[in-house]
Symmetry: C2
Subunit: 309 residues, 2 copies
């Protein structure tokens, strides 16, 4: 599981940063990519990665500002052009369906795959297939905006095959029964309890990706105990008034959300063109007293999300 940032800028594209999009790579987990926001030229950015558009299974849109959605029609068309046939679902605020459908209809684009929409109005669980669960909650932006919390299901412990071999337990259907936690009797009379041969379960990972927002309680709820929080930082530490009047956050507010939610790893994105080069990195340095593991992400950064130890 990795996050791959495709666009980390705010508002308009610049030579340094494209507009918003981040991919959650779930290739090992479900052979799929999930995208969060699709700013213009996201498909162009993808050309420089190993992501294949046909692998994109779900797209989550935080809000309908142009720098978060104008890449959708092109990405959807190219996914079709390249022969994608697997269904794709788009989650987002009311209006996302109208935008995409207008673009596809006017351009007479017929997709080679089923396209589904889930338009969000309230907080709550929006997806759950026992492997993953996604929760959306409203944030505090100028227009309707959602944050997303992706929870991976816990992984059951692995069967300790080494230990069974050491004890000369012959492999076969018995292994499956032990893994299921059953008690079995061996041909030689030994009685084994499966629970003694199953390792510790691994807690599923939690990734929280927020849209543009002022500081709000829902951000903390979404981020609670997350392994990683992706938070906008359109403004610097001390620009609280500016952030408030533009419905955005400062780097410090992002760090406070992480702190209150018990998050150890904070990734700052949605970086204004006012902050380039070293000035951008300052956004992170300024708040490392609050969250030591804070960084400003750049386009094409890949951040690994390991299991908790």
């Amino acid at each position: 599981m990795q996050l791959e940032f495709l666009g980390t800028g705010a508002g308009s594209p610049s030579k340094q940063r494209n507009v918003a999009s981040v991919a959650l790579r779930l290739l090992e987990e479900r052979n799929a990519i999930w995208l969060f926001d699709v700013g213009e030229a996201t498909q162009h950015q993808i050309l420089h990665t190993t992501i294949r558009p046909r692998k994109i299974e779900k797209i989550f849109i935080t809000h309908l500002h142009g720098d978060h959605i104008f890449g959708l029609p092109g990405l959807l068309s190219s996914r079709s052009f390249q022969g994608g046939t697997e269904p794709l679902t788009i989650y987002g605020p009311v209006g996302i369906k109208r935008f995409v459908q207008a673009a596809l209809q006017v351009s007479e684009s017929r997709l080679s795959y089923p396209l589904h929409f889930v338009e969000l109005t309230d907080d709550g669980e929006i997806f759950n297939d026992h492997g993953f669960r996604v929760i959306a909650r409203k944030l505090d932006h100028k227009i309707a905006c959602f944050g997303y919390r992706v929870e991976e299901a816990d992984h059951p412990g692995e069967l300790q095959v080494e230990k069974l071999r050491e004890q000369n337990v012959p492999s076969g259907p018995i292994y499956g029964q032990l893994k299921a936690g059953k008690t079995v009797t061996l041909p030689d009379g030994r009685i084994l309890d499966g629970h003694d041969y199953i390792g510790k379960p691994q807690a599923g990972r939690i990734v929280t990706i927020l849209g543009d927002t002022r500081q709000t309680k829902n951000a903390i709820r979404l981020a609670e105990n997350a392994d990683v929080l992706v938070h906008e930082s359109t403004f610097a530490k001390d620009e609280t008034k500016m952030a408030r009047s533009y419905y955005h956050s400062t780097s410090k507010q992002a760090a406070e959300v992480a702190k209150q939610a018990g998050v150890k790893k904070l990734l700052l994105t949605h970086i204004s063109a006012r902050y380039t080069g070293k000035a951008a990195y300052q956004l992170a340095y300024q708040v490392r007293n609050i969250i030591p593991d804070t960084r400003v992400v750049n386009d094409f950064d890949v951040i690994d999300i390991p299991f908790k130890k």
Copy 2:
């Protein structure tokens, strides 16, 4: 007057070519840029040129396929974000207004400048301000598609100031009268006819930019005696059947249009990803027996359009 190619590829963006857009640079002539088609990420391409979005005065859309229009909402928004206040007019097939308005409404984008639409249904003159005149005609594509002919007005001959000085004609209001073609009497009694002191008028330039099309008579009409013809070449010389079935042209068909229209300079664009590197240049080599001055354009090529000698 120059053509600057912002995207020269067909269908989907590739690492080598972006999707369709070409700028007609009229900075000396009217301090303006005119765009023809706006594929996704045209605004990104513009970041690598000297074009300023606020200078874009008119946008001509050939047809509504996604690779020709999906960059419009972002470009229009960024032009506003950067403080453009001058009006902008978009010409194109019926539906272009619906697409742009849906995108701007859903994203709650309010533009800082007046935006006008001229939706085309028939052939004819669509603009004329005595400096420039634009004629649109229907082409033969899968959906409604137009080609555009831009005619610059003839430049009146310059007053031959050198000649007047040689003949010791004192400068002053008399020069203006001579330039207007009047006959004037000098203080020393000499009588001068303005027509004797005005150089040859310069013929205005003609630029023809076509959308995607099969070979059609309207293409020839639009290109008649043009200084330069921008023509699609989605297919190679011998792929006539393929071109026909996809409503496109071969390089040979493009050259035949140029030949029949009396055009000396042919620029081939809308190059398929099937043709990369040398294979793309072959598209031009193959037809130089028909039009010697044929070239395949690349992204960021700037082609000067000088006055006729």
